[in-house]
Symmetry: D3
Subunit: 325 residues, 6 copies
């Protein structure tokens, strides 16, 4: 691990021009409107986890296209009117097991752990239970980054972000949740999704965004040779005439454009030796964030960032923000 990206002083100032399509807001409005034609249909099936301190609900709801999306609803046993964290998952992973997600409920929060459609079948520590029935009209590189990438309407993350927005609605419907105190959170891909969702859903009250992926694609594909950004490079190297279409599509999904619409308090983290989500791409999002914000810099870490240490900071932050005692 080395300090391969800009020095920290420059990172703190790095605010690259955004490439935003004129119909960005219209695109997302239409997307979410379309989705809302499907009944949300949240189903909280009690799950027999061998746990006493937490009640677990195997949750299903209708995401983009009405497709069934799986999640775990975790509620501190006996809790009511609880603040809730909607959490999204890092790339390759799924919702895993309830016992993987005990931090929030042990700290007094409800939590909804949301599958990322199609993912969760390659990482033995993080299985998923949700498919992405939409395969796309185009060839794609292995992984999800380029599924449908030639058309914003078909792009994989259009469905994922829509699922994520609707998950906030799902959380709000749970009887134990105080719908006025919902935060979104995630690491890496999960951070990218949280960043987008905080911009897209008016009822989100806070965002916890760790080493976010899906942000400043153009720079990312030029400076890092690590996965998963390289999926895009492989696609461009093979589908040789598509760069304009690809970057046009990505402009509807770039975290910088969502960050510029951020309203709520955001807590970011970044790692200076992160070759997967290079620090300049993270600061590109953070520096554009329009709302209240703070960022924790982990100077000696790679993509693991602050790990549990960041989680502890988030707990303190969110308890303060949501007046949890």
């Amino acid at each position: 691990m080395t300090l391969f990206d800009m020095p920290l002083e420059r990172l703190r100032e790095y605010r690259p021009e955004r490439d935003e399509p004129a119909d960005f807001d219209a695109f997302w409005k239409q997307t979410l409107d379309e989705a809302s034609t499907h009944d949300l249909a949240p189903d909280f099936a009690p799950h027999d986890a061998p746990l006493t301190g937490v009640q677990v609900y195997d949750t299903t709801f209708a995401g983009w296209g009405g497709h069934p999306i799986r999640a775990w609803m975790m509620v501190p046993t006996g809790g009511t009117r609880l603040p809730c964290v909607v959490q999204y998952i890092g790339y390759t992973g799924g919702r895993g097991l309830p016992i993987d997600h005990l931090v929030w409920p042990t700290a007094g929060f409800a939590a909804l752990i949301v599958d990322t459609r199609g993912q969760g079948a390659e990482n033995p520590s993080s299985a998923g239970a949700t498919g992405d029935p939409h395969g796309g009209d185009f060839a794609q590189a292995p992984g999800m980054m380029t599924r449908g990438i030639l058309d914003p309407e078909q792009y994989y993350y259009r469905r994922v972000f829509t699922d994520a927005v609707r998950a906030v609605d799902v959380a709000a419907t749970h009887p134990a949740v105080d719908a006025g105190r919902i935060a979104v959170a995630g690491i890496s891909q999960g951070g990218g999704i949280a960043q987008a969702t905080a911009a897209l859903h008016p009822d989100v009250k806070a965002a916890l965004i760790d080493v976010p992926f899906l942000t400043h694609f153009r720079r990312a594909v030029e400076i890092t040779d690590r996965e998963p950004y390289q999926e895009i490079v492989r696609f461009l190297a093979t589908q040789r005439d598509t760069a304009d279409r690809v970057f046009r599509t990505l402009s509807y999904f770039d975290g910088m454009n969502f960050a510029a619409r951020g309203r709520v308090p955001a807590m970011y983290s970044v790692a200076l030796m992160d070759f997967i989500c290079p620090p300049s791409t993270v600061f590109a999002g953070y520096n554009h964030w329009a709302g209240q914000k703070e960022i924790t810099v982990w100077p000696w870490n790679g993509h693991e960032g602050g790990g549990g240490r960041q989680r502890e900071l988030q707990l303190h932050h969110l308890r303060r923000l949501f007046s949890v005692v």
Copy 2:
């Protein structure tokens, strides 16, 4: 490269028991019947390749589910009533460019080079132009090997094999083709597809099967740590309770079961240092092949097998078989 698998003498005798579902034939009959409810709709659009000796047609037809499948129809300029080779592509690749496929037409054969749906966006020398609109109801590992693998009906290769069978019909409709002299051919995944198609389509007259993939899955996933068989291992390692379902699904697609239905003359090749499609899995198919057969053994090669040398042998073989002068 080493001789890591069985010695050649044992390979020549290796004929493992097949795991064949009782409704194997019914499954495929139903699958192809369903497919035939979609009009084949072959479209041969003349393609302006800067070539004089070969006429190229950018071809589209309706594959499984009526989905548009792309192919190149290559015809020696001015040829008529030509024997035709329907060729399938190796894993990760697509139909590429017409100039990648000049061997058959220069040797006096028409050739139909068929895209593998969804593939062809990661290998810069082999671009594809066909999507796989069916994403599947389940999580999947990156790549195509585990898309829909929990259900034979949804498994990716059900669609691919169906496309392949229909491609033979497409070739037969072309005015320059003698429908009575159609061969199927392919290397690796392409060899696996050819092996299946030769068993599934009654009008195929010959099969050229090089270092075939998709054969004897059970042994492959146990003895090689190379891609792409490892996609299945990763899936099984993550989706921990699915092994029975996975192997049941694969039993409908295992090359051994198609080989046992082989009727036409088959020319196989195998490489003894092939870690990707281990020689015992190739011989598992070959030794079960029910028709006339021969196999070329490349003792010092890896998965590249005989390369162009095998192509030359195939040209001689096919010219003899199809009485081409």
Copy 3:
């Protein structure tokens, strides 16, 4: 990942001869007796974790040589007379953070998470807080496997196992713990330590031993080229005349010899594609276990074994064993 070790049928029968020194029991008796001359001095300092469902105590006690050993005592808020799990950590890691260890307390158990001395400064997700003041009189390979390996008295794991045994005493002193219901548990190195502790401490009532390390050293160093067993090979390759001394030392620490002294119900797990702790070395321990036992086989996994899935099985098992409702 491949099935590189024996087939499962042979593994189930594999019970290699043990190399046990005549004074094995005397060695350990003397070691523990010596240790008991140091006051245990358990200190449970309340730790301000931002958690509501669990009370955390930053714990210190006097381990081997009276050295301070750090641990986390985790108690379900308000719990009393609780069964307790003493958990040991995998190689390279330390006790980490309290939020890394919420499973047992959320399920109604107290848990003591014990640092492994000297480790925990290379794995960003698992920091330790305990030193190993004893450097040893000999040169050593990087890592801990060969520290003091030329002399059983000086060998690193003599101190580690002693710390582990005393940790059980520590747990028993905590007011919330029912000293009659203490289990030991661990994965990999942690499993090896649990296996030893269950044999060495008469008050342990159950053992949960996952993909254990430190077992059947002789075979391990001959068949796997992965870390950390290779530390021993590097040592032997460099310190060329020491093999007899090294294996004599290891005979006092080999998991097979502890397993043969196992009295309590043991729940093992093993992964058939585990190149780090090869399945034959795990079965070597399991098949020698003298007490009641069961083993879960994960056929498609590497060293991650069953992961959280195994944790769930353990919860059910231990709740039954310890009559937790």
Copy 4:
């Protein structure tokens, strides 16, 4: 793959000073004069390829030192007075098989595919049939880059470039070839050879130079750690006092010096993520090219550059240039 070299704007302007020996032209005049004392002795033996559209001649001629050089002469069946492409091969490869080289003849060109002496015995897809009888008076690193590198007279590429120039003469003698329409072409090493040959042979009429190797050695050995430029670094690291001699030798072979003598229309290509022939070394040649020129930039590709796509552009270009209909 990343954009590791200069940004495109700087690449377009990058025209480093050339290190050219005063007797550069004299050296090459003498070299070619010496070579011409050997009778060219072109032998076009009809080769029984199983092809109908192309006639193949297994060709041998006397190269540098009168050594026998092998090539494939490919002629569209029945063609006469054809324009001809003399094609050189990439590093590690040989002329391969006739079926590897069907593009030019299928497009109406004769083609002479020229072995690179000594190469073609390590790459299974590209076998050679020509030795380099001159081993050199010095130690050499594996590979061909440093054979004879301490003396321009003995340097390997002196022989190779001479073979290449004489191959143009060979093509001109073939009855089917129009000697007034001969182009040279090649990829990587082949591009470097074509670049040199176009400068050295007065009758060449066009040059197709893809991602050329053997150009701007000094920069190449300083910025890329990939083969084969690293052969030179290894030599310099071992033969510690030879840098001056080595770079003096290379100055007689540097593509920049040939490019500065380019007269004919040249079509270059470059890939911006090419770690093997870094883009700045390619532009160093291109920007020095003295004749008419154009360059295709492949921004997302590595050393594969444009692949078949570039071949299609070349076909269009050459058909226009040579008035092929």
Copy 5:
């Protein structure tokens, strides 16, 4: 290998600010004073090497804390009043065998080859015979770089440098040695130790410092991802709040601070493609060296630097300096 660091012109000027604690000299005075409370107790046991030209003594002396340190004393047979080279060893290695160290005695010098405590059990060509009994109060990353790194008093290199200083005293006591002509020497870690010892021991008369390690830690950990500097990065990444303590500790051991106290003639070497001890860190030491100095630049080498060629230069240099005929 590439020129990854600054260009040579900038390296020659690179003289970064030093981070030197106010009590640097006091720290070392106290350390060495403390050490001197232990009797040096040099023991030169004649060693039966099967050599005639050199007499070998298996040497032991009391290093830091009175710990026994092993060394080889090599004396040209029959030599008296000889100049002597005290040589330190590269990271991972130990004193090895007498036959590994014949250069100095064959050239007319006595030589003392000093073990580095704790090292020498992982590199088969360089075994050590000395332990480091002090394990440290903290967790550490594998290897020696971070043992005790949270406290200057406990840091591993405090003991090593003290051993090294006392080794000079040991050499001076040998009857065959002229105590007025003692040089220190070493490569990599050995160079770093020699650099420190030359500053700490007033009787050293010359220093031979090759590609020194342990110099300009701050830059090293930021620009190279190679071992062993990465041990520090891993520690910092895991022990997340310790950076200030770590760099404070390192400031007592940084080669730049010793170089600034260099009085005697120093002969350095540096390699421009050295990724292990980057050239800027070497020049950081060299440019701060306060005494007479010269440096040999190996432009095409990695960490092997000049190898035996540098040894020859050193022989000439030292024979001149010490008036050896």
Copy 6:
């Protein structure tokens, strides 16, 4: 490193059938006779090494084809009628520097360190000074293993072994050498050369053969994927029809056939974890050795074998054998 080859008991019995051409002896007689038509022309130029205990001669002699071969003659200062070791070098290396070869002279032996033609330009610690002017009539893989491999007359090692045999004559001519006490020695390739030379030269009196290369080629290319045996596999994979010719050529050079002609006392060594020269190939030579013999087994080492430890054993052995006091 693992025990990947046969168990030691089987290795001790492993004596595979030899593939020996009928004219093996005639081939070598003719080869050496031919060579002897060139005057040996040994030239011992005094070399100004800065050494006092050893006199060094930069030696040149006429090897195969009369080509100049370089060597270092090392003589203990003032020695006369000395036994002499003729030493050959491992693959990739050359004679290096005189200071690399001080063991024999310091122990009272003269030593002739012989370059391996063409090698010594890739390994910075072992430079060579000798070219191999014979490049061969065939394509070759990088490295020397396949140069001329299609014809025994042209094979590279025919020249190397001839050089080696003549080097023994060279040593015998030196005034300080007792021609009746000459041994040959070498490690890896050097061991293979020594093994051959001991069989080919009647005046050799002893052989020291460490982890020999060039022995039992057939098995080696089948069981190890490491260099340099893989050069042969790459050749065979590319030059597809040459296996019979290749193995016929190798049968003239296989160490087993030389071993079967061994007359003098041989001291072998073998390492059980040697992936480069697998132990079964070493024992294949050793078990065929016809003369007196002993072998040292290094059970935990890779190709480094016994390293300096083996050198010490050889010194004792040779001093005894040659009555050196």
